[in-house]
C-alpha cells in the first residue's frame, strides 16, 4: 500500500442556496485501499462524491489527484483521470444487454463505423471473469433479466474496465438481499486487492467493518473523524456518526454488542 494518497480533498465546501451540504471537508484515499464514507442521512456523502465526479462544482477547497491539483468540471474530466462512480440506481439501461451496458458511451469500433461487437463481448467476458463474477451466465441477456446483485456486479465491472484508478460506490448493497450483498462485498474487497483505490458509501456498519481499511465519518457536512478499521469498533463509529446520541449499534442487543 502506497502512502501518498491517490485522491486528497482539503477544505472542500459546497452550499446549495442556504444549505451547507459540505463544510471544509478533508478526505483522502490511497491506492489499494477501501475507504468507507459513513454518516447519517443528509450528512453530505452523496454530495461529496458528486463533487469528486464533477457533477457539482465545489465552492471552496482543493482536490488533488496523484499529487497534482485538479479541476474536475464534469463526468468526462473525472473519467479522464481514472475516476469511475457506481451509482446506486439509474446506472444501467434495462433494455440493453450486459456487453452493451458495459461499453455504453465508449463503444469499440471497427471499419465502416461499425460497432466491434466481437471485441466488446470478449473484453466484457474477460473483465467479469477477472473479477470472479461467475453467476452471469450470458453476457448477451438484457440487464432487465439480472438480479440486483448481478446488476450491481455489472455496474462495478463497467467501472473497472476503463483502467480506472479510483472506483466510488454509492450504497452498492442498499437494495440487495443477504447472498447478493455477500457477492458485491467480495467484489469490493477484490477491487482493493488489485491495487485500485475504492470509496464505499454504506449505512451498514457490519459490511463496512468487513471490507474497509479506513473509515471517514461525515456529520452535518463536516468530516468529524477518520479512523482505521482495525483501531476502532462499530460502537465508536456509531457514536461519531450520531454525535454520541446513540451509544450502541442499532439492531444489535446489548448482550452481543
Amino acid at each position: 500500500m502506497s502512502q501518498e494518497p491517490l485522491l486528497e480533498l482539503k477544505g472542500v465546501t459546497k452550499t446549495f442556496g442556504a444549505v451547507n451540504a459540505l463544510t471544509e471537508v478533508d478526505f483522502s484515499v490511497r491506492e489499494g485501499e477501501v475507504m468507507a464514507l459513513v454518516g447519517d442521512n443528509g450528512a453530505g456523502k452523496s454530495t461529496l462524491i458528486k463533487s469528486i465526479a464533477g457533477i457539482h462544482p465545489i465552492d471552496a477547497g482543493t482536490i488533488a489527484f496523484a499529487g497534482t491539483r485538479v479541476n474536475i468540471h464534469g463526468p468526462k474530466d473525472a473519467a479522464k483521470l481514472g475516476i469511475e462512480v457506481v451509482y446506486q440506481d439509474l446506472a444501467l439501461c434495462d433494455n440493453l444487454d450486459v456487453v452493451q451496458n458495459m461499453y455504453l458511451g465508449r463503444e469499440a469500433m471497427s471499419s465502416f463505423r461499425r460497432l466491434d461487437e466481437t471485441t466488446m463481448e470478449r473484453t466484457a467476458r474477460e473483465t467479469l471473469a477477472s473479477l470472479a463474477v461467475t453467476t452471469i451466465r450470458s453476457v448477451r441477456q438484457p440487464v432487465a433479466a439480472l438480479s440486483g446483485g448481478q446488476r450491481q456486479s455489472v455496474a462495478v465491472a463497467k467501472a473497472v474496465m476503463w483502467n480506472s484508478k479510483l472506483v466510488i460506490l454509492d450504497e452498492p448493497t442498499a437494495a440487495l438481499g443477504v447472498a447478493q450483498t455477500r457477492q458485491v462485498l467480495d467484489l469490493v474487497k477484490r477491487l482493493g486487492q488489485t491495487g485500485l483505490a475504492v470509496v464505499l458509501i454504506s449505512h451498514n456498519l457490519h459490511d463496512i467493518f468487513e471490507v474497509a481499511d479506513r473509515i471517514t465519518v461525515l456529520r452535518l457536512g463536516r468530516s468529524v473523524a477518520e479512523v482505521s478499521r482495525k483501531g476502532s469498533t462499530q460502537q465508536e463509529v456509531v457514536q461519531l456518526i450520531t454525535a454520541g446520541s446513540i451509544a450502541s449499534v442499532p439492531g444489535q442487543t446489548e448482550a452481543t454488542a
Binding site: L90, L96, Q100, G105, T118, S138, A145, L146, A179
Partner: protein, 420 residues
C-alpha cells in the same frame, strides 16, 4: 460462494440469446429459449407473422383476387409509403417519443417534388427535386427536434403544432392549382415501373447471397474470438426462409401480366437493410436504444442525449418526405389532400403493429415493414370486398388496439418476471 447464493443467482435467463449460454446449443435449445421468452412477454415478430398469414387466408377465402399476381404487385406499392414513413417513426418510438407531424411532412415532401418538376421552363432534374424534398423533411424534423430538446416542449405538442402547420404549408404551396400532375418519368417510375424478370431474380438472389456471406463472416469472427455462436442449423434456417420468401415474391410478381417486381420493392429492402445497420451496428443506433431505455443512464454514460434526439427527429422528417415522394409517384400527382387522410395514423400504427414498443427502447426497423404489410393488406382486402372507408378505419383501429394491447401486456409480463 455459498450454496444458497448459488441457487439464488442461477435463474436461467430466458430470451432470444438463451441459446448463447451453451456453446453447443442446438435448434432445440434455441426453440426452448424462445418459448421461455414468449412466456415472459418477449414476443418478437411471432404475433405479426401469424397475423399476416391469417389476413391472407381470410381475404383469399372471401375474394380469390386477393392473392392474385396483379393484386400482389399493387399491395407492394401500397405498403411502401407506410413502411418508409414507419421506419422513421421506429426511431422516434425507440426514444419513447412521438411524431404527429409526419403525415403532413410527407405531404410537404411530395408537393415540393411535384412543384419543382412542373414543366414550366423552371423545372429542375428529378434528382434535385427529390434532394430538395428530402432536405426539407430533414430540416423540418431537426427544427421540431430542437424545439423539443432546447425549449423543452413535449414532442407530442411540438409535432401536434407541426401537424397543423405543415398542413397549412401544403395548402399554400398547392395554392389554387388544386392538383399538380407529375410528368417526370423517373419519379413516376419509382412506384409504377417494374424490374425485368431477370433483374428481379438477380437482385433477390444477390441479396440472399450477401446475407449468407455476412452471416458466415460473423460466425467465423465470433468463433475466432472464442465466442459462442447461434446454432448453425438456425442460421441456415433463416437463410432458407429468406431465400424462400424472396423467391415467392419474385415469382408471383413476375407472373403478373405486363408487370413485375416494382422498383419501390428494392428501395424498401435497401432502406430496411441500411437502417437496420444504423440501429444495430452503429454507435448512434446503440445510443438511440440507450436513451429510450434510460435517459439518466445514457446521460451518465456520456451520451449527448439532446444530439441523439434531434438527429432522430431529423431522420423521421427525412423518411416522411421520402414516403411522400413515393405516394406522389404512385398517384403521379399531388393535391390539396397530400399528407392527410390515414397517412399519419397508418404510419405510426405500422411499427406498433409490427412489434415496436410505444414505451421506448424496444423495436426494430423490420417492424415498420411487417406492420405496413398488415395495414395495406387490410386496406386492400376490404377494398376488394367493396366495404366502405368507415369499415376500413374501424378494422384498422381494432388491429392497432390489439397490437398496443400485446405491447402493453408483454410489458406487464416483463415487469411480472422482473425483466421490465
Amino acid at each position: 460462494m455459498t450454496d444458497t447464493a448459488d441457487r439464488e443467482e442461477s435463474v436461467v435467463p430466458a430470451g432470444t440469446d438463451a441459446a448463447l449460454l451453451e456453446p453447443d446449443a442446438t435448434l432445440g435449445t434455441y426453440a426452448r429459449g424462445r418459448i421461455e421468452a414468449l412466456k415472459t412477454g418477449d414476443l418478437g415478430s411471432l404475433p405479426i407473422i401469424i397475423g399476416i398469414i391469417a389476413i391472407a387466408i381470410y381475404f383469399q377465402a372471401r375474394n380469390s383476387q386477393f392473392l392474385s399476381a396483379g393484386n400482389f404487385v399493387n399491395l407492394i406499392a401500397q405498403t411502401a409509403p407506410y413502411a418508409v414513413i414507419g421506419m422513421g417513426v421506429v426511431f422516434v418510438l425507440l426514444l419513447g417519443e412521438i411524431d404527429l407531424s409526419i403525415g403532413y411532412v410527407s405531404g410537404v415532401g411530395g408537393v415540393i417534388t411535384a412543384l419543382l418538376l412542373v414543366p414550366d421552363g423552371n423545372q429542375v432534374s428529378p434528382a434535385v427535386a427529390i434532394a430538395a424534398a428530402l432536405g426539407a423533411g430533414a430540416i423540418i424534423g431537426v427544427v421540431q427536434g430542437l424545439l423539443f430538446t432546447k425549449i423543452g416542449i413535449p414532442s407530442f405538442v411540438v409535432t401536434l403544432a407541426g401537424l397543423l402547420g405543415w398542413n397549412g404549408v401544403v395548402l399554400l404551396l398547392i395554392g389554387d392549382r388544386g392538383t399538380v400532375a407529375i410528368q417526370d418519368p423517373f419519379v413516376n417510375g419509382i412506384a409504377n415501373d417494374y424490374l425485368s424478370s431477370g433483374a428481379a431474380w438477380l437482385s433477390v438472389e444477390g441479396a440472399v447471397l450477401i446475407y449468407a456471406a455476412l452471416q458466415y463472416l460473423a460466425v467465423r469472427n465470433r468463433a475466432k474470438a472464442g465466442l459462442p455462436n447461434l446454432p448453425t442449423s438456425l442460421i441456415l434456417l433463416r437463410i432458407g426462409v429468406l431465400a424462400g420468401v424472396g423467391a415467392i415474391v419474385v415469382a408471383v410478381a413476375n407472373s403478373a401480366l405486363n408487370r413485375g417486381l416494382p422498383y419501390v420493392f428494392l428501395l424498401l429492402i435497401a432502406l430496411m437493410l441500411i437502417l437496420t445497420f444504423v440501429t444495430d451496428r452503429t454507435r448512434f443506433g446503440r445510443h438511440v436504444y440507450a436513451v429510450g431505455g434510460s435517459i439518466e443512464a445514457a446521460r451518465r454514460a456520456g451520451i449527448r442525449v439532446d444530439g441523439v434526439r434531434v438527429a432522430v427527429f431529423g431522420i423521421a422528417g427525412t423518411m416522411a418526405a421520402l414516403g411522400g415522394i413515393i405516394l406522389a409517384s404512385r398517384l403521379s400527382s399531388v393535391d390539396t389532400n397530400a399528407g392527410g387522410g390515414t397517412i399519419l395514423l397508418y404510419s405510426i400504427a405500422a411499427p406498433v403493429i409490427g412489434g415496436t414498443s410505444l414505451f421506448g427502447g424496444r423495436g426494430t426497423i423490420r417492424s415498420a415493414l411487417l406492420g405496413a404489410v398488415v395495414i395495406a393488406s387490410i386496406d386492400n382486402g376490404l377494398g376488394l370486398l367493396n366495404t366502405t372507408a368507415g369499415t376500413k378505419y374501424i378494422v384498422t383501429a381494432l388491429v392497432l388496439l390489439a397490437a398496443v394491447s400485446v405491447d402493453s401486456l408483454s410489458r406487464k409480463g416483463r415487469v411480472a418476471s422482473g425483466r421490465a
